[in-house]
Chain length 499, copies 2
């Protein structure tokens, strides 16, 4: 292609077609000029080899300083759009726009789809963009001692100052890890040292970290069915071969032959309060699970998401501390005990794993949220955390009682309320001839967010028809009208099913 | 096994060997008793079938209320450790401890090692647990307007109240996404709508998300060599086949034949300020990269980590906005522009991908940090962010000038200072006969944290010997003594190499 033989005239006209403006958002004249020339080069109005006006000429034509033009030319030169030589400033030879258009067409023909791991994730209706009654997993936000918390934060900021703006330890603040260790030992019977604790972005990051640390793509992972969808998502993203295991009133039920037939690398379990059925894994099953995992070289991921809120009897202890050196990765979160948007959770690693995990943790975690972590350490150590837990335990007990009473009185359809001695949700099982998904969708329109039980199951059975009802963030007095509305929706749906 | 035929005597003695204590941390008498009985069952002192004393007897013997004992028995019953029947309370049949011991031995024999993906990650010396001079990637923490930031936070708390404790939108606060969109359009030429922005836990989560969204295990991913280790880690964790591509003074250099020979699914690039060499990817290479990616169905991950800090000329624009519908996933972070422990970054998805990514985003992200996100939205929209950037740009320019001057005067070993018209670090290349790792380690002992350039390379060449020197968080007056110490270390190392 011969060089475009231009006089300064047409190029100058092109470049001053629209006057440059000073705008209020700080886009300077230089930036505008740079963008104008670059765009003209990219769309072919200034073709390869085209000579640009001298900086003095252009500056005069545009009414800006010569320095500005020089700076823009230098930048365009650094970016490779133009070349500066003794013969003047010329547009470089670039991939032609026509070529680029063809490229786009080629791409449209073979547009790469979403990754398989991403495409396998189905929407659960779980994460509605709003906080509505019955949404599981939300604590009593209005009862959180926000100003006491803010005081802890302020003290952390005053104490640490701008040093707290730095990344911090990739595993999290040592003071917080020590506080968590002491709390877990007393409240959950978890045995560990602070260097085995990793502070994470809520439980979800902890689960992803478990997958990264101990699994390879294609490894078998057992999950509870029905069970927590976040665990399933973490495993899908880690390309695991997911084997759902049914849950009964005693928690995760593992057929003996499964160990040899589908030997897992990872077993996910929520033993203290199975999510969403509320079952407590019996001692016999806990010991069997640990023993078999040891025999078959599997790791257990224990998700202890809300077991601090046990309403009847004492707390159920964690599996982690049940026998020495149990092959358990223990996952906890402050989303339920404090508040969800805090996004602080943690992972307690088994000793052998902690010793090997250093490089991955250092290279993939960045610490951060130091003021929040230090505030939380103080909140725990000062006893405010325990007192808050006590208050919330009593509150959730009252709320659960109120919800149970409302269900008993107003839910005039056949149903069973599944195990609920802890936590912030109840699961009701419904007749298999209604559609829990349809009911949940209809409820959404009435500003309620119960979750369809069937969406927690990998292969939903008829008995997985039901609703998961969070009661943590709903005041006791609201349950009667809410349950009445819900009952009416379920009756309508049953009629629809029978029609 | 015949039932253990005990009188109440020995069991009572066992259970009251040590008196129960009231401790200050809230471990109640019930909890202690529960743990004591459970442990005795687990370690075999109370074998299967053993009858426990009646609740009244035990309560009297221990000096506690009968209700407490009943509650503990109920819990142990719920957990399956004991069975309550008309014949009294007996220990259930459980997996024997001897069995468990054998299990542990079996496990030790076949202890599962770390996952391959985790084991492939090598420690870089990058994430020292301390903030030391020369550590790359740390902005001027003491110059951050912490009290102005705290004011924004306070206003967000007052405005939103306890509603801000809820999870929030999985993609992040809409107000923040709108503010980022407006800022990016003006400052970086990025074209997008807020619904294509995902707020992430810093750039690292954004990179992991890119891998999850568009790659399958075994896919080829191209990275810059030398290049940012965090990108490599994200790809290792996604089980990608990593193909390192060399970087020269014009940035990422891709041999033409590579597209067909090693067709990538993902190309990672830091075009505006290559990390760590500082090169700017030329316009010709940008256009070629976009065109080829379109032809071969590859996605480009553009990491724009610190390009707001360009010292010479105007800002270099982002690749994302270079042509319409470029197949670019744009990654940004506020770790360099505000402060690292804020842990807020973002990902701008291409339109086609954004439309498909919904389920994965909703199921794997949890929103959170709402007050911080709303504070940041205000910080941007009120113009404080731009002003802060302007101040920091001038500061880093001064600091870079001071470091360059100190290097010129006091670094009396052969070296080259590589491209540094932006950002917060300079890279110096050193003679291949010294060991940059050894020098970096020696520097650590002197409280400095320069990073060895060779550790940024997948397959280090002799020319990758050097040091990456962060200057963002070091005052101008410190560079002379620091460089003098560094020069002495390098001289020592060269002598060692020659000896």
């Amino acid at each position: 292609m011969p060089p475009f033989d231009e006089s300064a005239g047409p190029v100058l006209d092109l470049l001053r077609q629209t006057p440059l403006v000073r705008d209020t958002r700080g886009a300077s004249l230089q930036r505008q000029l740079h963008q104008r020339i670059r765009d003209a080069i990219l769309d072919g109005r200034l073709p390869s080899g085209c000579r640009l006006p001298g900086s003095r000429t252009l500056a005069t034509a545009l009414g800006i300083s010569r320095n500005s033009v020089t700076a823009v030319y230098e930048l365009l030169g650094a970016e490779g759009y133009i070349a500066l030589s003794r013969q003047g400033t010329r547009v470089s030879t670039l991939d032609r726009p026509a070529e680029r258009t063809r490229g786009r067409e080629a791409r449209q023909a073979a547009a790469p789809e979403l990754a398989r791991r991403a495409a396998r994730v189905r929407d659960s209706l779980l994460n509605a963009g709003q906080d509505l009654p019955f949404r599981p997993g939300v604590p009593a936000l209005a009862r959180f001692p926000l100003s006491a918390w803010r005081n802890c934060l302020d003290r952390a900021v005053r104490r640490v100052g701008t040093a707290g703006l730095w990344y911090g330890d990739p595993q999290g603040e040592p003071a917080l890890r020590a506080a968590i260790m002491r709390h877990l030992a007393v409240a959950r019977g978890v045995r560990c040292e602070p260097d085995r604790i990793v502070i994470t972005e809520g439980a979800q990051e902890a689960l992803s970290l478990c997958v990264r640390l101990v699994t390879n793509p294609g490894d078998k992972a057992w999950i509870e069915d029905p069970g927590y969808r976040g665990a399933r998502t973490a495993m899908l993203c880690g390309d695991l071969d997911i084997v759902p295991m049914r849950v009964d009133e005693q928690g995760l039920r593992i057929p003996d032959e499964a160990w040899a037939a589908h030997t897992p690398r990872l077993v996910y379990v929520s033993p203290s309060h199975q999510y969403p059925t509320g079952a407590v894994l019996t001692a016999a099953r806990r010991l069997d699970l640990i023993g078999q995992a040891q025999r078959y070289g599997a790791w257990i991921v224990e998700d202890d998401y809300d077991s601090e809120y046990r309403h009847a009897g004492e707390l159920v202890g964690a599996m982690q501390g049940l026998v020495p050196n149990a092959p358990v990765l223990y996952v906890g979160t402050f989303s339920k005990t404090l508040f969800p948007s805090l996004r602080l959770g943690f992972l307690v690693l088994p000793e052998t794993l902690a010793a090997q995990a250093g490089p991955l943790l250092k290279e993939s975690l960045r610490g951060g949220h130091r003021f929040e972590q230090l505030a939380l350490a103080e909140f725990i150590e000062s006893g405010q955390f325990s007192r808050h837990l006590g208050r919330m335990r009593r509150l959730y007990k009252r709320r659960q009682d109120a919800l149970r009473a409302a269900l008993k009185r107003y839910l005039d359809v056949p149903h069973v309320v599944a195990g609920g001695n802890s936590g912030m949700h109840l699961t009701i099982k419904l007749p298999a001839d209604c559609s829990d998904v349809r009911i949940a969708q209809a409820a959404r329109a009435l500003e309620m967010a119960p979750m369809p039980l069937s969406r927690f199951a990998s292969c939903p059975l008829p008995e997985d028809t039901g609703l998961v009802l969070g009661y943590g963030n709903t005041s006791e007095s609201s349950f009667v009208p809410l349950v009445q509305k819900l009952a009416s929706l379920i009756r309508d749906d049953l009629r629809l099913g029978h029609a």
